[in-house]
């Protein structure tokens, strides 16, 4: 599997990552090599094999529907880049 420049840019956009345009060819080369490695999976016969989600087949636990968290908004917002009146601030999204 070989990724070209445009595919790398598309993936970077999907992942919301800014990539230096000068570095794109190197990303394309490295990512293509990794996908070549991964493509060895094609040779495996997995007909009828159940995909494994948890090694011990554990299922998600359910708990009682009760409040277990305390309000720690101020504590968590103290480390946020920008907050105001208990709200996280981001650039305007709606004009």
């Amino acid at each position: 599997m070989s990724l070209d420049k445009h595919e790398v840019e598309r993936i970077a956009h999907l992942a919301r990552l800014e990539i230096d345009p000068a570095a794109v060819p190197e990303y394309a080369r490295n990512l293509s090599n990794i996908l070549d490695l991964v493509d060895q999976l094609d040779a495996a016969d997995t007909e009828g094999v159940e995909p494994m989600a948890h090694p011990l087949e554990a299922r998600q636990r359910l708990r009682e529907d009760v409040v277990t968290e305390t309000d720690q908004r101020e504590r968590f917002q103290a480390i946020a880049p920008q907050v105001e009146d208990g709200l996280y601030l981001v650039p305007r999204v709606i004009e």
Binding site: L14, L17, N33, A44, A58, A78, P81, Y88
Partner: protein, 484 residues
């Protein structure tokens, strides 16, 4: 004091030969003297450490001490520590003072251990050489021109250089065992679900597992006893009692059946490593164990499956770093998309970006079945290989890594070569099994690791088997020159 094991340190503290404060100061002095060269710590919190040491001394005086009370322990900088910088060795979290502590950290606190600092690592635990750290590479105390392994390279180097008696690590594809092997210390990756992942910054959630890095199996047994246990807050933690891992260390291993996977002794394994492993197996034969060849036929698919599962889960987990709630935020974003892209582009290093992109690609529309689903099926084939092997043998042994420590910069230009340094450790994570690496000799002055793999929840057996070897050998007692 730096040459004493945990049992000796605990006995010394109880007998009043030295206080926790004295022991903690001795560690801080060794770090100050040696870590400029090694770079094994990102943060050393002297004030907090001394407060904890004084509290431990009060507990010791009151006769309320547990086995780790007053013992300095270093935490890998992937574990959140309330009020202490927690960077995951990333620019993204350069300013992140965690607002809570990981369960593992809480457990050490409750045991009265002293947190001496936070160790260097590969960025977000993605790497096998500690060279992807935003805080610079860690050097291997056995030879400063070589890497300590990764991702828990700081923890392994700090323990090997006797800067701290013990440290924690995390292991997603070999990140405890591989650096333990390269630095000549003992490291244990427990069964998936044995140690809580809560507050341990997530990389690949179906593979990540925390565990101890120590000088010996005996020390690791004490540490695991503190770290292991069910946790409501980790949805994949397994609710099962924690045995006393020290109680079975001295069990006789005569009649133990050891399986050697022929796939772990093929092409790519350096001759010196093979010889050291053979010598270790002879030692086990002398201890009364029986060694038989086995096959794990899907071994060659482990690295390819891993590089789908781990990046896919990484891309999902690391989507939380958005420049909005915590962590790095770019200057003057034009709009929300610019905020996301530049914050993430500036905050993450190259290896992290590569893995996020591989994962994003593998999970993108139309590719899920071909990659993630296929890899999860291969995971089952790999686990089934181990299950069949454990019908014939008690433990599996082989080299932890194909070579001893490689040189700094040797593999940084080629991610694939770097990935292959985890060729013997990755399958264990995919299968969820426990695995341990212990020092088994040297090649050209560099340590070699022997890996012991056990069936689910057989940590006690791994520690027993490792301890018996360490009773008749002294590789684990060797100290790198300059650190005696």
């Amino acid at each position: 004091m730096h040459d004493k094991n945990l049992t000796e340190l605990a006995a010394g503290l109880r007998a009043g030969d030295f206080s926790s404060e004295e022991l903690t100061r001795a560690c801080l002095e060794r770090i100050a003297a040696h870590d400029g060269e090694l770079n094994s710590f990102i943060t050393v919190d002297e004030e907090r450490a001394l407060e904890q040491a004084q509290a431990a001394d009060r507990r010791l005086a009151a006769g309320e001490a547990g086995p780790l009370t007053g013992i300095p322990v270093a935490q890998k900088d992937i574990f959140c520590t309330d009020g202490v910088l927690t960077t995951c060795a990333s620019r993204m979290l350069e300013n992140f003072v965690a607002p809570y502590s990981a369960t593992v950290v809480e457990k050490f606190d409750a045991a009265g251990a002293v947190m001496i600092g936070k160790t260097n690592m590969d960025e977000f635990a993605m790497g096998s050489s500690n060279e992807t750290s935003y805080y610079g590479p860690v050097r291997n105390p056995w030879n400063p021109d070589t890497v300590p392994g990764g991702s828990s390279g700081g923890s392994a180097a700090a323990v090997a250089a006797r800067l701290v008696p013990a440290a924690t690590g995390t292991d997603t594809g070999g990140s405890i065992r591989q650096p333990a092997a390269l630095c000549g210390v003992t490291g244990l990756k427990p069964t998936y679900g044995r140690v809580s992942r809560w507050g341990m910054i997530a990389f690949a959630s179906s593979l990540d597992q925390g565990g101890p890095i120590a000088r010996s199996a005996e020390d690791a047994a004490l540490l695991l006893g503190v770290m292991a246990g069910f946790d409501e807050r980790d949805s994949t933690a397994i609710d099962r009692p924690v045995p006393d891992y020290t109680a079975t260390l001295d069990d006789d291993i005569r009649g133990l059946k050891i399986g050697l996977p022929k796939e772990y002794f093929g092409e790519g394994l350096e001759a010196g490593v093979a010889r050291a492993v053979e010598a270790a197996l002879d030692e086990y034969r002398r201890l009364g164990a029986e060694v038989v060849e086995i096959s794990l036929p899907h071994t060659h698919l482990a690295v390819p499956a891993y590089y789908v599962v781990a990046p896919a889960e990484c891309s999902s987990n690391l989507s939380r770093f958005d420049g909005v709630r915590f962590g790095h935020r770019c200057e003057n974003p034009e709009d929300l998309e610019d905020l996301y892209k530049r914050s993430r582009g500036e905050g993450f290093g190259d290896e992290v970006k590569r893995r996020i992109m591989i994962g994003t690609y593998a999970l993108s529309a139309g590719y899920y079945d071909a990659y993630y689903l296929k890899a999860q099926k291969v995971r089952r084939l790999i686990r089934d290989d181990f299950a069949r092997a454990f019908e014939q043998v008690d433990v599996i042994m082989g080299p932890t890594t194909p070579s001893p420590a490689f040189r700094l910069g040797e593999k940084t230009d080629d991610p694939i070569t770097m990935y292959l340094s985890d060729i013997y450790t990755i399958a264990v994570n995919l299968a969820g099994l426990p695995g341990l690496s212990l020092p088994a000799g040297f090649v050209d002055g560099l340590p070699v690791g022997l890996q012991i793999i056990g069936n689910d929840f057989e940590e006690a057996r791994l520690l027993n088997v490792a301890h018996q070897y360490q009773q008749v050998t002294d590789h684990h007692k060797c100290i790198p020159s300059g650190f005696e």
